[in-house]
Symmetry: C2
Subunit: 280 residues, 2 copies
């Protein structure tokens, strides 16, 4: 893959989304160091790359409505190839199967990530948000969170905690795993469906909050349902969005997380859920 | 495909799960008439078939932990072929890509359904259900719901509504879309992971309850996270389970649903979510 990327903005997120055609339905890219986690890329940025493979595919029909991304194996620093196949195209909807592959230590292409996605032509109908945005102070009145937990991707987000912040004491006390916070890209960047995909994975692990104990974790599957159209996302601009997450069940090595993202005006932008492996 | 099925129980659900090897990673079957909906099979039974293709695959590692099924096109009455590919096998986890294909009117094989799934070796860790079962009367004290909505698959479930039942008046009044009910297979059958997959789709459309209006709908993507092990499911036996569902957002043709399933003793068995198309 050449190092020449075209039509890419200066923002780290735009650079992370750049990819080049590499054969039928295939696109070459690599994990962004700007979004590096401890031993690989931030899962949200990998999920956004899977979305981007669909969104920049020449045969795409409509806007992204839903995506599920499965983290099957570690993504490294090498070139990856994302294959995005339109498995079924209907009149107004389209279903995608997406895989990311990277060369393993033996030089074989190994699947690191799988995904399915659905796109659909936008249309207007009766609409109603049942899950109302909680009453919270506006983002301008909430201080930014500064962490001593030094991973690169955390510097790509401006997080302003409201409820259920990162535990200060790791004393093993059981607490509700409900977190609320204002979040925006850092530096600010107009919200789009790719950035919203990444942002839905921004929460620290629910089990750390529930148990006040840091155990090894890793997301295994992650879904986003996009309630907002591309137009509605454009209206958010680069304003912080309200992000809420909570776990429901922690059992024998896996816990789940449900999440909601609202525009500052209260419009529900996305709902998300994930299942996360934990070790102890 | 021959009509000879081996090792199949007498229950309609067992007959619906029967499939035969049809090449590498491929299994032939068809949609069960016992679980027929208005113009095709009940989505839950199709999802369970996708799970079954993994569960009876000779290369499967461990128990089913998560599955996402996408309803890409109509499933008809003809033979279908389910392909279940182990995309990545790790030491204790395995990721699957699954597709269902059926011959279309022109005789071409067309993808009707896509899915991804994860299996993992069972192991014991610290565990905790944060989402507690609501306090409800025991199933023996709740009357079975009898509907005039005549589709075959509804006769395969014994539903005992507690809250947010099927609207009696279609007057357009806006209500919370929260439903609680006891549910069991009909006739009774010991719960397993396949049956639990199907059962997570048993709720009538949240938008009908929210709007008190019946509009055309169809699930487009459906996920289940299995918190219970196969052992824990066996302990439920054929007792009714408590099923709860609610919508969060209804916008421009799609609404979501989150759901929880508990054993009668209060153990969280599964959490589920889906995105559903609606017309008006």
């Amino acid at each position: 893959m050449s190092n020449l990327f075209t039509s890419v903005g200066d923002h780290p997120f735009d650079r992370a989304m750049a990819m080049e055609p590499a054969g039928a339905n295939q696109f070459a890219t690599r994990a962004s160091k700007d979004y590096w986690n401890m031993v690989g890329p931030y899962g949200g940025i990998t999920a956004a790359q899977m979305a981007q493979a669909v969104l920049q595919h020449p045969d795409r029909l409509g806007e992204l409505v839903a995506i599920t991304v499965n983290f099957a194996g570690a993504v490294g620093e090498g070139e990856v190839v994302i294959e995005a196949i339109p498995a079924r195209t209907n009149r107004s909807t389209q279903h995608w199967i997406i895989t990311m592959r990277e060369k393993d230590a033996q030089g074989h292409w190994s699947t690191t990530t799988t995904a399915t996605a659905m796109t659909a032509l936008a249309r207007k109908t009766w609409s109603d948000d049942e899950c109302a945005m909680p009453q919270v102070p506006p983002s301008g009145e909430v201080a930014r969170y500064v962490t001593d937990f030094r991973v690169e991707w955390l510097s790509r987000y401006n997080v302003r905690p409201l409820l259920g912040s990162y535990p200060e004491q790791w004393d093993g006390a059981i607490s509700p795993s409900l977190t609320r916070m204002w979040v925006s890209d850092e530096p600010p960047r107009p919200l789009d469906v790719q950035a919203l995909t990444a942002l839905c994975d921004v929460f620290f692990p629910r089990i750390w909050l529930r148990r006040a104990k840091r155990v090894p974790i890793g997301t295994v599957t992650f879904s986003v349902y996009f309630h907002a159209s591309e137009d509605e996302l454009r209206q958010v601009g680069s304003e912080p969005v309200l992000a809420q997450a909570q776990g429901q069940g922690f059992r024998d090595g896996f816990f789940d997380q449900t999440a909601q993202i609202w525009a500052p005006g209260g419009t529900l932008l996305a709902t998300s859920h994930q299942l996360v492996y934990y070790k102890e």
